[in-house]
């Protein structure tokens, strides 16, 4: 079956980030969106550890251990960027100042509940970082994930079985099969990968979908 590649997913997410947006990209797959932002748009990336205007990775040998992203990878600062302390940084996230955050997920529910921090396995060491702050704080929360787990279970669910990160917080879901808006009326499909029918998509999805009247 045909699927969006990771690059296509990142490109698709990037397309929905407008000029001038303040954006936080979560650890993992969402971080790669930075590489696909349209070059003709000025988009300002926030990093929870006190950076606004984060730029790409430095050249080899130019890494600075005092300038890293949330994933602790070396980054750079764009002209116009700024540093600030942790309470100020999280005030940006929690105070509703970020336009968009992009997060990975284990599960997203029909209601827009997000589970992305903890498998709930009894021996797992829990770690949450800034995920709960981003989930409730950004004006729009985008989730970027595989449509199904490795064992074929839908990650879109009627109700999260993993511990949640935040309730009713997800606005749009980008998977390797589709783009879905989370609305008060349920999940509306706005895009499907070429060659996959709506019915086939619905069969692979653990919650009811509707097809948008105006697919994007």
């Amino acid at each position: 079956m045909k699927r969006f590649t990771r690059e296509q997913m990142a490109t698709r997410v990037a397309r929905d980030i407008p000029e001038g947006a303040y954006v936080n990209l979560g650890i993992g797959l969402p971080t790669t969106v930075a590489n696909f932002l349209p070059k003709d748009r000025e988009i300002i990336l926030h990093s929870e550890n006190g950076v606004l205007g984060m730029g790409p990775a430095p050249e080899k040998g130019r890494e600075d251990p005092d300038l890293i992203n949330a994933g602790k990878q070396p980054v750079t600062l764009l002209t116009g960027g700024a540093y600030f302390h942790h309470a100020d940084s999280f005030a940006m996230m929690r105070g509703g100042h970020l336009d968009i955050c992009v997060l990975g997920a284990f599960q997203v529910s029909v209601a827009g509940d997000l589970a992305n921090w903890h498998t709930g396995a009894p021996d797992a060491i829990p770690a949450v970082g800034g995920a709960m702050d981003l989930a409730i704080g950004a004006k729009s929360v985008f989730v970027m994930m595989e449509h199904v787990t490795k064992s074929g279970e839908s990650k879109i669910v009627t109700r999260c079985t993993y511990p949640v990160t935040g309730l009713s917080c997800v606005n749009r879901i980008f998977t390797d099969l589709t783009v879905i808006d989370v609305t008060p009326d349920g999940l509306r499909v706005i895009e499907i990968v070429d060659g996959l029918s709506f019915d086939e998509l619905q069969r692979m999805t653990g919650a009811p979908l509707t097809l948008s009247a105006t697919p994007g």
């Binding site: 990093s47 999280f90 709960m132």
Partner: protein, 232 residues
């Protein structure tokens, strides 16, 4: 004459007692006060409660303190990292207590301690495992959890430059938790790369005014293992 500079990390940490609550700055290794942590290990205080964003990387700094079994409890947001194996082993062995706090609540609770706030309502964590048992309230149609300040006996932080009044400036994203931790501890101790004469730091540019800092110690540049060779 006010002089908050201290000759050595050893002297700066001499009075840290067993059972103390310590905030340690840093996000991963950026901003981690490694020289102070090394001196703390040598100093010997035990049964410590540590407040940090993480739970140590590799075997140096905070990880070394954990490895030396000096830490009873850690309050942090993100213990599990690719190189957090020392914490992981202690945790699985039941030899360390973990209070997991969403990072924004961690920062805000530290800030609240410094600002005299008794408690605050935050949206972060509402409806999750990390808010279980906590008071909640709906305000203007949104759901909040009540969180309380985190105070500390000592804060150990890393800054770039400091003066004898305790004024500090930081370097890039190594600033992170330093300023708020300095405000939340009874005694805040800053490791700096350089102590400068009073008046060198522009009053418009001082990030942590000296009122929040009790001791400043310069560490050898060689000691600052994380300094880059060339600045990016």
């Amino acid at each position: 004459m006010i002089d908050k500079t201290v000759a050595s990390a050893q002297a700066a940490l001499a009075d840290i007692h067993d059972g103390a609550t310590l905030m340690i700055g840093g996000f991963g290794t950026a901003g981690m006060p490694s020289a102070l942590i090394d001196a703390l290990i040598a100093q010997g205080a035990r049964d410590l409660t540590i407040v940090n964003n993480n739970a140590g990387n590799g075997e140096t700094g905070l990880a070394a303190l954990l490895k030396a079994k000096r830490v009873k409890k850690i309050i942090c947001s993100f213990p599990r990292q690719t190189d957090s194996y020392i914490f992981d082993a202690l945790y699985h062995a039941g030899e360390i207590e973990l209070e997991l706090v969403p990072q924004g609540n961690l920062a805000e609770r530290i800030r609240a301690a410094g600002a005299g706030i008794g408690a605050f309502f935050t949206r972060t964590g509402y409806g999750t495992l990390l808010a279980e048992g906590k008071e909640t309230r709906t305000i203007n149609g949104r759901d909040y959890v009540l969180e309380h300040p985190i105070h500390a006996d000592f804060a150990l932080i890393k800054a770039e430059r400091g003066d004898r009044w305790g004024n500090l400036v930081y370097r890039k994203a190594a600033r992170n938790f330093g300023p708020i931790m300095a405000s939340a501890a009874k005694c805040s101790i800053a490791q700096v790369r350089e102590i400068v004469p009073l008046g060198t730091l522009d009053p418009e540019v001082i990030v942590t005014p000296g009122i929040f800092v009790q001791r400043v110690v310069a560490v050898d540049a060689a000691d600052s293992a994380t300094r880059p060779q060339a600045q990016a």
